[in-house]
Amino acid sequence: MTTTPVGVAPAPDTVDPAGPDAALIRDMVRIRCVEEELCDRYRDDQEMRTPTHFSIGQEATAVGVCAATGPDDLVFTGHRSHAPYLAKGGDLRAMVAELYGREAGCARGRGGSIHLIDRAAGFAGSAAILGEMIPVGVGAGWSAALRGRSSVALTFFGDGATEEGVFHESINFAQVHRVPVVFVCENNLYSISSPLRQRQPAGSTITDRVAAYGLWARSVDGNDVYAVRAAARAAVARCREGAGPAFLELHTYRWREHVGPGWDHDHGYRAKEEIDDWIARCPIRRATDAIRDAEPRVDDWVRQWEQRYREEARAAVRFARAAAWPSVANLLDGAYETVGR
């Protein structure tokens, strides 16, 4: 069973009865269920041999932003790729098969967790070298504009990636050429185990530094999915109007370790209290709380969604494990274009 995330135009029969606000909760629940299932399998089975960066706790950024996009808009990301991939409507089974290294994977098992792609859904690629997809997003948006299309490119990256020079080069270029690109910074306060304060100057923010190029730049509570969606809508709308690029700094927090499925409060770089504090600000819980008065049935829905998506995740895992491995005979496929393919 496939659920259509709000990011893509849903076919009428798959729309939940819940309305657009609840749909955001639904999409976050789905991503949470999928990632938790993957965490467990990753840890226990040792079958997914690919470094994996989970977004558990950060779901509102991907869901809120992608909800503001249309089917022709393109999303690029860094290594923390699953949530934006799913939020943009990327095929779940192809993603899980990719993590399991199968030929049915979205990158035919060649790319792994860090190289997801689903062109049909507008998820245009993720890459693991910090900052690389930032200029790529600019180029994709620029291309759309040069070819007279109204589509917008969005590129996700972390607070750590903003330390790469290419981030600034990209912001500068986008502003000079008024490129329809939305820069989406998921500021989760850490780069692996380095806290932000050890890497960037106190007293100014990433948003400040981007605003200094004249960009429309907003600093948003990244665990408030409605605020994220509102800001992203404004950003995308500006781009579509030809008003130039936009920047969003979304403040959020990663619950699990940087890479891999574990908890890491005993690693010494952040306190259990800090993690618990952010868990208390769970984006799903907050979104649910926010609409409960208007939609008293939301807790039931969440329970139903949890069941549905846990099962969907397990089914995807079953699919992936049963799927065929790539053939070693095809090892070189795609290294170069094949004439006449």
Binding site: A107, A127, V136, A140, W142, A153, F173, A335, Y336, E337
Partner: protein
């Protein structure tokens, strides 16, 4: 066939490809200025303007990434560097992203970015404005890398690049720009991976790329006067590399000199020697010789610079050593590039 200079051939290929395919656009620092990248982008700018011939900020890394993103979304960017040395700043995205894109996303399409880098040998350009980084790019699977020596190849390889679906690096030597040669009027593609016998001969094979093809030809001429017959193989592209043309020639001559514009170690000269050692070592009648840069950065001072860049004389010497002759009374040759005058 009518003759064009090397730079005119590049300009013509660019113009014709832009006319044929509206998705081609040119990006580079100063591509729109009065010099127009030594003439190669001037006509395109005059014809297509700033919308398709785009002056970019001094941001080599981002611009390469932007070209990749544009290529992933329907355009065919031609990125131009007035010095190939600047490409190091873009190496990450070129090698870690463009080269790998098609493969690591499961063969669902490539990013056809074409990058031209001009090598600025000579006239005191010094250590950071004279390098020819072709081997560096060619070490990594996923790119095509070519080093056109003739105006016809400068045109034909660029045409192939701008029509293909693979990222391509073209390394052009600034000293080739004024050289003339026959060039087809039509945009006829020259395939990657197919070398060319620039001059036939029987006693020694000189495998060369780019500027060194001309130095080798001049060396061959001089040696012919002495009764030594030199075959010059122009590899044209270094990835893919035409192993067959190299091995067939060496199998016939039994002697190999490799002449390159970069350093010997881990360079084209190493690779060509390895191809022979892998395939036809038994045909070698003498040790392989590498004519390449001495193991230092490029100096500025005139006499040092003259000594640093190998030319026809170095090729002559290597060939003579292989046939067991000694230099004797051959007149020294000046370099192909000796005509260049300043001010820079």
């Amino acid at each position: 066939m009518r003759e064009l200079t090397y730079w005119q051939a590049i300009s013509e290929a660019t113009m014709q490809c832009m006319a044929d395919d509206p998705s081609v656009l040119v990006l580079g620092e100063g591509v729109d200025d009065h010099k127009g990248t030594f003439g190669t982008t001037k006509a395109a700018y005059e014809r297509y303007g700033a919308a398709r011939v785009v002056d970019v900020p001094n941001s080599e890394n981002a611009c390469a990434g932007i070209a990749i993103g544009a290529a992933a979304n329907g355009l065919r960017p031609l990125v131009v560097h007035t010095r190939a040395d600047f490409m190091f700043l873009a190496l990450d995205v070129m090698v870690n992203l463009a080269a790998k894109w098609r493969y690591m996303y499961g063969d669902q399409g490539g990013v056809p970015v074409v990058t031209r880098g001009v090598v600025g040998r000579g006239w005191g350009q010094g250590a950071t404005h004279s390098q020819s980084p072709h081997a560096t790019f060619a070490h990594y699977a996923g790119l095509y890398v070519a080093t056109p020596a003739s105006p016809a190849d400068a045109k034909g390889l660029l045409v192939t690049a701008l029509r293909g679906d693979t990222p391509v690096v073209l390394i052009e030597n600034r000293n080739l720009y004024p050289l003339t040669g026959p060039v087809p009027e039509e945009p006829e593609p020259v395939p990657f991976g197919v070398g060319r016998i620039a001059r036939a001969g029987d006693d020694v094979t000189v495998v060369a790329a780019s500027l060194m093809v001309h130095e080798a030809e001049r060396a061959a001429e001089q040696l012919a006067a002495r009764g030594i017959s030199v075959e010059v193989v122009d590899v044209r592209s270094i990835r893919p590399l035409d192993e067959r043309i190299i091995c067939e020639s060496v199998a016939r001559t039994g002697r190999l000199v490799v002449a390159d514009t970069s350093w010997a170690r881990y360079g084209l000269a190493a690779e060509v020697a390895a191809v022979v050692a892998e395939n036809v070592p038994e045909t070698l009648r003498a040790p392989v010789r590498r004519v390449a840069l001495p193991d230092s950065p490029a100096p500025v001072s005139w006499p040092l610079e003259e000594a640093f860049h190998p030319g026809a004389d170095a090729v002559v010497e290597a060939c003579l050593a292989l046939v067991g002759d000694d230099r004797g009374s051959l007149p020294r040759l000046s370099s192909v590039a000796a005509e260049f005058h300043g001010p820079y």
